[in-house]
Symmetry: C2
Subunit: 183 residues, 2 copies
Amino acid sequence: MTDRFEEKTVSSTSIYEGKIIDVKVDTVQLPDGNQSKREIVTHPGAVAILAITDENKLVMVEQYRKPLEKSLIEIPAGKLEKGETPEGTAIRELEEETGYTTDHIKLINSFYTSPGFADEIVYIYLADNLQRLEQTVEGDEDEFVTMKEVTIEEAEELEKNRRIHDAKTSYALMYAKQYLSEY
Amino acid sequence: MTDRFEEKTVSSTSIYEGKIIDVKVDTVQLPDGNQSKREIVTHPGAVAILAITDENKLVMVEQYRKPLEKSLIEIPAGKLEKGETPEGTAIRELEEETGYTTDHIKLINSFYTSPGFADEIVYIYLADNLQRLEQTVEGDEDEFVTMKEVTIEEAEELEKNRRIHDAKTSYALMYAKQYLSEY
């Protein structure tokens, strides 16, 4: 892979070190020799789970999203914690957010969410053979989510109404539509 | 729409005001009465264009992405500028990044890229009936991109090799695969 457009770091200034994100501004040297600034958010990465019940329903969670000042309906998701594999995170988040667990989970894709300003990557898993946990698992104490099970048609209606309105869930929904007919 | 999980802002601290992003930390009151912090990146929003040539090729651009320290191959995209409509931005970015223009463009979806920590929204357009511009249009002076035209099969191969590896492009590619057969 040629990176003839590589932007070499001339200097890097840490702006903020937070609980979830860090922010820095890099001064870079451009391919034409000029300098520019790059504002960069670093993030630990995340997983998201397209979980399908035995009745072919999609498991979703509703959650308030402070940056948007509204709640969205999304597939279950969460940040990678230190020492966890993405698959381990996926099963933990599924358990915490939905009360389901599974032994049948596979990675379907991964992608950077906003490569222009952030390094966040999301791993998208497909999970089925869902089993209800007998005991609920406590999630983050500052996270309030409600679980919903919806058909693909209901999910498409939620997307039309912009109650579903984020990249990972729109991607997962199109994946479900495309592949679950063969399922 | 009920937002019974609304997180009321107790206080808000500006951390950074940049060229592309701003960063703030809000102290919020949770539904259970406790307080927590929310780290929030604000962004003007962006458009991305799934542009299809008369030969049914997808128009892509290769660009170095500093947050990832590597280049990716993506559909053309760019930030909303003040006073622009998303469709106006889409046509401008298509012209600047690819040398094509069009009078045939439609919105296919929009989504928040990282609703947990950012308010960035991306509007995804489908464009065809592409016409080559006689004169190239200058883009941002600190942006270096190379245009590529690929078949859907080539794009899928690039995705397997993680040269295509961002949310909007993976979404657009699945859309192209699903809908262009009926096209």
